[in-house]
C-alpha cells in the first residue's frame, strides 16, 4: 500500500495500488491459466470481489475497473447462458480486453526481466577529465534565446500541472451499458428457463454476480459524480473510511 498517499492526501505521483489489468492478470496467474475467455469467466467473481474490497481508487480509474468488470460479467454470462447473444460491439469489447491483457502480460513479463538485471551490473561511465575549458559560445546563443528557453519550460510546467491527468474514457456510459445488459441477461435467462432447465445454481450465480456489479456501478457513479464536481483537483481517492496515520 501507499503510505505516501495517506500522508499527503494525493498519490497520483506514485500510484502503488494495483491497476485494473494488474488485478485481472494476478487472478489469472494465480489459477495458472492463459489469457482466454475461459480464464476470464473464471476470474469474474474474484475480480468483482477485489474491486468491492478496494475502497480507495484514484477516482478516474474507477470507471476503468467497472468497464472491465462489466466485460467480465458479459463473458461469464455468456459462458453460463449460451442463449445470450453478444452484439458485435460487445464481442469487440471482449476481444479488446483479451488483447490488452495479453499485451500487458508481455510487458509485465518484460518488466520482471528488467527488474532482475537492473542495477546488477552497471556499466560505469568515463571518469571526468579535468576539463580544459576554452570559451566557445554558439551561434544560437543570445540573451533572448535564453529568456525564451526558460519561459518555455516554465510555461510547459504550468500546462502539465493544469491539465487533468489522461483518462481512458469508457466507450459508453456505464449506466447505459448496465441497463442494457440487465435487460439482455434477464431476457436470456427467461429464454433459457423456457427452453431447457439448466441447474438453478448457475442462474443464481449469474444473478449474484450481476447484483454485485450493480452495487459497484452505484459506487462508481458516486465517484464519477465527485470527479466531475472537483474536475480540476487531482484527488486520487474517494473519501472513504480508510485508516489515516
Amino acid at each position: 500500500m501507499d503510505t505516501l498517499s495517506r500522508k499527503t492526501g494525493f498519490s497520483i505521483k506514485t500510484p502503488s495500488y494495483e491497476g485494473p489489468f494488474e488485478v485481472a492478470l494476478d487472478l489469472i496467474e494465480a489459477r495458472k491459466l492463459l489469457v482466454n475467455e475461459l480464464a476470464l469467466a473464471s476470474i469474474t467473481d474474484d475480480y468483482i470481489q477485489h474491486v468491492r474490497r478496494q475502497e480507495a481508487f484514484p477516482v478516474e480509474e474507477t470507471a476503468n475497473f467497472i468497464q472491465i468488470a462489466a466485460t467480465l460479467i458479459l463473458i461469464k454470462s455468456k459462458s453460463l447462458i449460451p442463449d445470450l447473444v453478444l452484439t458485435e460491439e460487445e464481442n469487440a469489447d471482449v476481444e479488446d480486453l483479451k488483447n490488452r491483457l495479453m499485451i500487458y502480460e508481455r510487458i509485465r513479463n518484460a518488466s520482471r526481466e528488467l527488474s532482475s538485471i537492473f542495477g546488477k551490473q552497471i556499466m560505469i561511465s568515463a571518469g571526468q577529465k579535468k576539463p580544459v575549458p576554452f570559451f566557445a559560445p554558439a551561434r544560437d546563443l543570445s540573451a533572448n534565446a535564453l529568456t525564451d528557453a526558460l519561459a518555455r519550460i516554465l510555461e510547459a510546467r504550468e500546462e502539465v500541472e493544469q491539465l487533468p491527468e489522461a483518462r481512458v474514457k469508457p466507450m459508453v456510459t456505464i449506466e447505459e451499458m448496465m441497463n442494457e445488459l440487465a435487460a439482455r441477461v434477464q431476457k436470456a435467462i427467461n429464454i433459457s428457463f423456457k427452453e431447457f432447465s439448466g441447474t438453478a445454481k448457475e442462474k443464481v450465480d449469474v444473478i449474484v454476480s450481476f447484483l454485485a456489479l450493480l452495487e459497484l456501478v452505484k459506487q462508481g457513479a458516486v465517484a464519477a459524480e465527485q470527479f466531475e464536481i472537483y474536475g480540476d483537483i487531482r484527488i486520487s481517492h474517494t473519501d472513504t473510511g480508510m485508516p489515516r496515520y
Binding site: L114, F118, A166
Partner: protein
C-alpha cells in the same frame, strides 16, 4: 593512420558522454553503413577488455563492461543504484521492448496513467523524449545509453527474451489497432 574502429574509439573516449551517431559520421567523414560496420568491429574488439560500447538508435557511448562493476566500485566511492519501482520498470519495459513510445500508448498498454513514471524516468536520464517529426505535439520516448548501462547490456536486442517479448506484442498491437479502426468506422 587509424582504422575507423580505432578513430571511433578515440572519439567516444574523448567525449566521455553519449555521442550522437550523426556527429560521429560527420567527423569521421563516413556514411551510415560504414559507421555501422565500424561499430560492430569495435564491439567485437572490445570483448574481454573491460570496456564496451553502448548503442541506441541515435547514440553511442563508451562505458565499462558489465563485469567490471565490482572492481570499479571497489576503487571509487560506490555509486548507489536506486531501484525503480514496479510502475517505473513497467514503463521502462514498454519503451525498451518498443511496444509503446508515446504516453498514450504506454497508458493504453498498462491500463493506468503513466505520467508520473515517465517523469521519474526522464529525471533519471533513463529515457528521453523527442518530438515526433510528423506531429510536433506528440512526444516519442526512447531508451538512453544510461538505461542500457544500468541494465548491463550494450543494445536493446540483448535484453532478456527480447525477440519473444517485443515482436509478439507488436503483432498484438497491430491487430488491436486494426480492430480499433474497424470500430471507429462503424
Amino acid at each position: 593512420m587509424l582504422t575507423p574502429p580505432a578513430a571511433l574509439l578515440s572519439l567516444l573516449f574523448t567525449s566521455g558522454n553519449a555521442v550522437p551517431k550523426k556527429d560521429v559520421s560527420k567527423v569521421l567523414g563516413c556514411n551510415h553503413e560504414d559507421l555501422s560496420k565500424a561499430i560492430s568491429v569495435l564491439h567485437e574488439s572490445l570483448e574481454g577488455t573491460g570496456l564496451a560500447v553502448i548503442e541506441t538508435e541515435a547514440d553511442l557511448e563508451l562505458r565499462t563492461a558489465p563485469e567490471a562493476m565490482e572492481i570499479v566500485q571497489k576503487f571509487r566511492e560506490s555509486e548507489v543504484s536506486k531501484d525503480l519501482g514496479k510502475a517505473g520498470l513497467e514503463t521502462l519495459a514498454a519503451i525498451a521492448y518498443r511496444t509503446g513510445s508515446t504516453r498514450g500508448e504506454i497508458d493504453w498498454i498498462r491500463g493506468v496513467n503513466s505520467s508520473a513514471s515517465l517523469r521519474t524516468l526522464l529525471l533519471r536520464g533513463l529515457i528521453e523524449g523527442k518530438e515526433d517529426p510528423s506531429d510536433k505535439r506528440r512526444i516519442r520516448y526512447s531508451i538512453t545509453t544510461e538505461a542500457l548501462a544500468y541494465l548491463g547490456v550494450t543494445k536493446v536486442e540483448q535484453l532478456p527474451r527480447f525477440d519473444e517479448l517485443s515482436k509478439e506484442s507488436e503483432q498484438v498491437v497491430l491487430e488491436t489497432s486494426k480492430n480499433e479502426e474497424v470500430r471507429s468506422s462503424t
